[in-house]
Subunit: 71 residues, 2 copies
DNA sequence: TCTTAATGTATAATATTTTTAACATTAAGT
DNA sequence: ACTTAATGTTAAAAATATTATACATTAAGA
């Protein structure tokens, strides 16, 4: 009944030449812990950070984050 | 040189039978002030709220929010 | 086996978003 | 002119995201 945000960051990192969390963090302008927390769904990022992460991978935001019913 | 988030909430409200800020706020589960602040670019919402707002209008997130170079 | 890079995790401090409450202004209808 | 709904706006509190620091674990290579 309720929707949740999920993401494909780990996969995207893997296909981006196995980019590390650290590298992604630097390119997105945040710390490694922030990336780790988001990857593990500890919390959902700000819209701005979501856009920045998508930009790093050169994909639209909806290829990184989706909002769907959680099964 | 820097990117900024902009949104089309006001327009979307207008085309959604002139939905008020108050109605949108209720449907998105936030207060009217939050909608007003976002409409006026006082700050960018959380990713979750961005998704909820898009859901209210039944459009993808990128039809509500965009992240582009500011002129 | 030893090192090292990468990741997992936790906690307290800081920053940002969101709420609550309040009052002002605008536009429309009567 | 009066009323009312909608919006503009502000300030302080509460909630959530992010940082900084620190230490543990894992996997891979020398």
């Amino acid at each position: 009944m309720s929707k949740k945000i999920s993401n494909t960051i780990k996969t995207l990192r893997f296909f981006a030449n196995e980019m590390t969390q650290q590298e992604l963090a630097e390119k997105a302008g945040v710390t490694r812990q922030t990336i780790a927390a988001i990857e593990k769904d500890k919390y959902s990022p700000s819209l701005e950070l979501a856009f920045k992460i998508a930009d790093v991978f050169n994909v639209p935001l909806n290829e990184v984050f989706s909002y769907k019913e959680d099964e």
